[in-house]
């Protein structure tokens, strides 16, 4: 058991962070929970669709946890590690039960059981949902359980605190994480926090691409700081782009696939720069390009294809008004179908002011999910196969201290920031599952690690206070440096420029020339970043400082993405290279590991083979669209 004096730090209060907090606190270990926003406002609230898990009905129809694993690996184009996916999918049913016990208002059948819906990537109904706000409901359930632990004194929340840096000591046995430096975003006080284990559960990095479907807090800066401090990145280049989002002036908002599922049609005016209202453009002057190019699947081609086609049309200048939007037209649908889509129509109407029942929606693909992230390890072990398992079963060892630990002992990565589960691209309704699974399954690993550390006699209380004071001072100096900057470079303008470039050259279509140009550009942004000036130098609730500091880290994260994407000369999952359109298992059945070379301020890339103990990789065709 861990000593009562040992503490755990968790950075991030989304599903993964809260799941871990509750699980660890339950083991009697006090937790310090850091979040840039009150944890109830974390990005997990945005998930709409649901959470996948095998269930009794699907099981009797021939579905199994194994099948769920197979779908996840197939969807991820076999870039995922199989034992963690085995474990996650086999834990999924009990995780749903657990959430059910916490009081999540899952939709119900007439008999009162949990209802299920069909979701992408499966032929079985295996997605549990709570209205159109499943993520919100799950997060709230965990928020409530965290509050319970908080009231019991086991969790101490540091809300509106920003993680600045991990405190890592280079010992004779290698690096060791002793806690973090964090800043109160209101008082601007910088402090060090000691812990024998630190969990980063800081989510994705969508805002590196400017506007995305992510929350504004999902800037990847925390992951980038860990990376700059020595943690490795895994498959950073894998970023999911959702084909239909509502472009906004401030962000992109998701438009559910169900709009197309129910008969919505995607088109652009045949004439470039046609400035007529969509309703005024006659049928024969509309170009239903998906239906034309893919007569069999039409508007329901798989996500990555739809995304690419829409992207190409706009690149060729066919976008609405020459811009980056196409029409998703639901105006001609029968009234009863429109009624079914009320929920998503309301979202569109709320944020655009237009009624999609009357006027065609304007949509464009948008960055949506970060499959890559911090590299982590785990202990695998052979499991007793359960009903439905088709062969040797290899899962994770429950409670092994290294589960989802980064290359730095004492530093863990849970949830979206962890690269493990989704491989090349993520299946719908698997994100919520992977986040909660990390928190709940790997919580005991963290607790066991504390015990190991105590036995080894290298707990954090043995580290001299001066070590922590130095870490704080380093961060303070960075702040002073930023505040003193007089170069005149505007960080917001720089961010917008980077977002546009990253979206143009490193999302849907990644061609060699474009990415090389982007990489050069990244170097100029680095030097321009050295010249940023703050427009606010007050030492009270200074968001300008926080944003600018994060920008420097985002540039480094972006570089890891671009370098990884350039080096991966194949197409796999969300990563599409027109010059290398096929998957190359011989060379790239491997994880891209990027480590930060501080001396040269650049990522070093190497590869790590991904073993396939259970499911042999096969071509990801989804019934061949070609």
């Amino acid at each position: 058991m861990a000593s009562p004096n040992q503490r755990v730090i968790i950075v991030g209060g989304g599903l993964a962070g809260l799941g871990a907090a509750v699980r660890i606190a339950e083991e009697g270990v006090p937790v310090d929970l850091f979040s840039m926003v009150p944890v109830k406002r974390s990005h997990s609230v945005c998930a709409q669709g649901g959470i996948n898990a095998c269930n009794d009905v699907a099981r009797q129809q021939g579905y199994s946890e194994w099948q769920h694993m197979d779908e996840t690996l197939y969807g991820g184009d076999f870039l995922n590690h199989q034992p963690p996916v085995y474990e996650m999918t086999h834990w999924a049913p009990q995780i749903i039960d657990l959430l059910d016990r916490m009081g999540v208002p899952f939709n119900r059948t007439p008999e009162g059981r949990r209802d299920l819906r069909l979701f992408g990537g499966s032929l079985f109904k295996r997605t549990h949902f709570s209205g159109a706000t499943t993520g919100q409901q799950l997060l709230y359930a965990l928020d409530e359980q965290t509050r319970r632990q908080e009231a019991a004194g086991m969790v101490h929340k540091y809300e509106f605190w920003e993680f600045l840096w991990p405190i890592i000591e280079q010992t004779d046995d290698g690096p060791l994480c002793h806690g973090i430096v964090a800043q109160d975003m209101r008082t601007m006080e910088i402090k060090s926090f000691k812990a024998d284990a630190t969990v980063l559960a800081t989510g994705g990095c969508g805002t590196i691409f400017g506007k995305s479907t992510n929350s504004v807090i999902c800037n990847g800066a925390a992951a980038a700081r860990a990376y700059r401090a020595g943690a490795w990145m895994g498959n950073a280049e894998f970023i999911q782009v959702h084909p239909t989002a509502i472009p906004g002036e401030d962000k992109c908002r998701l438009m559910s696939e169900s709009a197309r599922g129910e008969g919505g049609r995607v088109w652009v005016p045949r004439k470039k720069d046609d400035d007529r209202a969509p309703g005024d453009i006659p049928e024969d002057e509309r170009w239903y390009f998906l239906e034309e190019k893919y007569p069999k699947y039409g508007n329901l081609v798989p996500r990555d294809i739809a995304t690419r086609e829409i992207f190409f049309m706009c690149q060729e200048g066919y976008g609405i008004g020459g811009g980056r939007m196409v029409y998703l037209d639901c105006t001609a649908l029968p009234d009863e179908t429109k009624k079914k889509l009320d929920g998503i129509f309301e979202i569109y109407e709320k944020f655009t002011g237009d009624d999609p029942r009357e006027i065609a929606m304007r949509i464009f693909p948008s960055v949506h999910y970060t499959m890559g992230g911090l590299w982590t390890t785990y202990s695998s072990e052979e499991k007793q196969p359960v009903h439905g398992d088709k062969g040797k079963a290899v899962g994770m060892q429950l409670g092994a201290p290294d589960n989802m630990m980064t290359n730095i002992p004492g530093l863990y990565a849970f949830g979206e920031v962890n690269y493990q589960y989704h491989g090349g691209t993520r299946l719908g309704a698997n994100a919520l599952l992977s986040c909660i699974f990390d928190g709940i399954f790997c919580g005991p690993s963290v607790v066991n690690y504390l015990a190991d550390r105590r036995e080894a006699g290298n707990t954090v209380d043995k580290v001299p206070d001066t070590f922590f004071a130095e870490a704080v001072e380093t961060e303070q100096k960075k702040v002073e440096h930023l505040v003193a900057g007089k170069g005149g470079e505007n960080p917001y303008v720089l961010h917008e420029e980077m977002g546009n470039w990253m979206t143009d050259y490193c999302t849907v279509v990644r061609d060699d020339a474009g990415m090389k140009k982007l990489l050069e550009q990244l170097q100029t942004w680095k030097s321009r970043y050295e010249n940023v000036s703050l427009s606010d130098t007050a030492m009270w609730t200074n968001q300008n400082l926080s944003f600018t500091r994060a920008l420097g880290d985002m540039i480094r994260y972006a570089e890891a993405i671009v370098v990884g994407a350039l080096a991966r000369t194949e197409s796999r999952g969300s990563h599409y290279r027109p010059d290398f359109p096929d998957r190359d298992d011989r060379q790239f059945q491997q994880t891209t590991i990027a480590s930060y070379d501080a001396e040269h301020d650049r990522p070093d890339v190497r590869y790590e083979y991904i073993p396939v103990p259970m499911v042999e990789p096969r071509a990801r065709t989804y019934g061949a669209v070609k």
Binding site: Q94, R148, F351, G353
Partner: protein, 253 residues
């Protein structure tokens, strides 16, 4: 069209104890703007309408999809989320846009307020289902679709504070918990396992600042961005406490 600008009047305050002042910003109009995009523009171009350089306006936000509740402020006199406040709609009613921080919570800076009282009150009322830990112990209780529907409506509360901002009984000089917390008491007390702590929640509701401090102005339900039936929750918790207190009285505890 490119010359068209939007006038944004913002009530600013440098820190908790500073006195507030107004600044006007002139922002180039683009179609489909929301208040957030105006604030983002100001962050990148912190210059007032009369050309004075200033600091970017500080405000709280996260999801920008009206599910996190962070970006709540008073816009043209009405409390709401700034992400779903569309500029075109606002300009239909007024020729400029006026932004103020919520008045019921202490201002941290500019439009950023401290809503921790709300979360503290949730703690006091035991806003959780008392489960026996995270081990695998089978499913939760079954629930009829009708009951799920009722609970789902209540569970969408994102603690934004709109109901508290408009409540005449909720002020900075008292300790009323307000509609959001009362509604959560109902949410948990109507869950079969949550109800195991019903008595404790109702005891908390009987405290000064609890359910009986409601004045029935019913403003809360009109501004709730998630259409939560707050007044029904208040009445229901009223009934629960009535029965609870009568039972307590006759049990002689």
């Amino acid at each position: 069209m490119p010359d068209r600008t939007i006038q944004l009047k913002i009530k600013r305050q440098d820190d908790q104890s500073a006195s507030p002042y107004w600044q006007t910003f002139s922002i180039p109009y683009r179609p489909n703007m929301n208040v957030i995009s105006c604030l983002q523009y100001i962050a990148a171009h912190p210059t007032t309408a009369d050309g004075t350089e200033t600091t970017p306006v500080v405000w709280d936000c996260s999801c920008l999809e009206e599910v996190c509740g962070a970006c709540t402020m008073v816009i043209n006199g009405e409390v709401r989320q700034s992400c779903s406040a569309l500029v075109d709609r606002l300009l239909e009613e007024d020729d400029s846009i006026k932004l103020e921080p919520m008045t019921k919570f202490p201002v941290v800076r500019d439009l950023f307020v401290d809503r921790s009282r709300l979360f503290e009150d949730l703690k006091k009322t035991q806003g959780w289902v008392p489960i026996d830990g995270l081990y695998s112990l089978g499913p939760g209780p079954w629930e009829s679709p009708a009951k799920q529907d009722t609970r789902y409506d209540l569970s969408r509360c994102m603690s934004c504070g709109c109901c508290l901002e408009v409540c005449p009984q909720y002020t900075r000089n008292n300790n009323f918990v307000g509609a959001a917390v009362i509604s959560q008491v109902r949410y948990f007390n109507t869950h079969p396992i949550g109800a195991n702590n019903a008595a404790e929640r109702l005891n908390a509701m009987m405290e000064p600042g609890g359910i009986s401090d409601c004045g029935n102005a019913q403003n809360c339900v009109k501004v709730c961005p998630k259409d939560i039936p707050l007044t029904e929750s208040i009445a229901d918790v009223g009934r629960m406490t009535t029965i609870h207190s009568i039972k307590q009285f006759f049990r002689g505890e």
